[in-house]
Symmetry: C2
Subunit: 258 residues, 2 copies
Amino acid sequence: MKIAITGKGGVGKTTIAGTLSRIFAEEGYKVLAIDADPDANLASALGVPEEISKKIMPFSKMRKLAAERTEASESYGGLFILNPKVDDLPDQFCVDHQGVKLLVMGTVEQGGGGCVCPEHTLLKRLMRHLLVERDEVVIMDMEAGIEHLGRGTADAVDVMIIVAEPGYRSIETALRIRSLAKDVGIKKLFVIGSKLRGEEDAEFIRTCLPEIPYLGSLPFCQDIIEADLNRRALFDAGNGASVLALKKIQERLMAEGE
Amino acid sequence: MKIAITGKGGVGKTTIAGTLSRIFAEEGYKVLAIDADPDANLASALGVPEEISKKIMPFSKMRKLAAERTEASESYGGLFILNPKVDDLPDQFCVDHQGVKLLVMGTVEQGGGGCVCPEHTLLKRLMRHLLVERDEVVIMDMEAGIEHLGRGTADAVDVMIIVAEPGYRSIETALRIRSLAKDVGIKKLFVIGSKLRGEEDAEFIRTCLPEIPYLGSLPFCQDIIEADLNRRALFDAGNGASVLALKKIQERLMAEGE
């Protein structure tokens, strides 16, 4: 299953993507986690130690390397065999951590350096051609907001999860994503309620987004703030309220996402 | 003064941009607020009624109109006189609300519709050529994350404010913005601490970002959550803790930003 996680900036996409990745890995799945946000930080949500995450070569550099070698800008495809499997991804572009392979799409490295649209095209191609077996799952942490949909990245995913918090701006983003997701032909769309202070907050989100199946709730919890303050994966803090909520969400995802 | 407000998604950029705009307007400044986030929502933070904000024509459409009229894609400049003033901005692209003129750069309207980089170039040109008088202020709500710096939007601003919340991911974004801001030659850079649960949270941000002058603190306050839930401008909720904190921040900005 290829899962894309999206929603307004700051709603908890990266925490959810990182923790779900670790939960899938614990269940025995081979997991490829893709950090597709130019302002990348999935590594820390996965619990990858800083000294290792610093050494990750962004995938966008692969394109440059490929272009340099062959003197053609569109030649990065040659680095892959046709229809690659998760295992075929070159080790120098991935780190393995607790059963999760992490691929980082790359950040903007120099001010004024141009747009990241070629990287998005690259990601889309990779996602389209990647063969995902039954025991494998790909989880993409998409960039904040909705630009990635404009660029058509998302037509290469099976399931798209919108993360929404109780507030109109997050709902507005969710509604825009829903409309764009329809345009690009996403088949399965779900919503996760995040930072909920109680059942009425979950109800608010369900009422505002009646047409998107509700996958589950993540409570407003100090454990997530503490994990970020201590630069630690939420999953590694043990079975707190947030991890237990995400385990339930993962079960429902497996039941309804297939 | 041309002010850009940036930072990780969800830290409070839009709330701060909208509320500062209203505070400047109350002080008698002519304010141009620019929503430069493709996932736009500055209108609701300013308190623009939904029936009016729905009618705003995004600035990016102006380019298309211009291109259609003259059959040239780079001709939008022709719509402006050389070195336009805030007052010269055509009314059909702005709404006036409580002394604030709002300009919306535009959202991605159709899935798969391509990238927004041409819109960023347009914004940069506008910002560079806009003459801002002493009694005028331009406040830009920049897109979540750091892509806009990669695209060089920010070299047309006088002051850049990074909003940071207590957490490593927000700090990582702030550090990347600082580095990119240096590359593009931003002269004045400040940080605002947001969602602070106490003085130790402010201290955390100051310690993590010692090289960026600290402009002030915004406490973690229910009034911001309530304003978003009720689709109301924080400023219109009266002088709560958050508005008072932002009034202090505006004072310091006037003293140190000039």
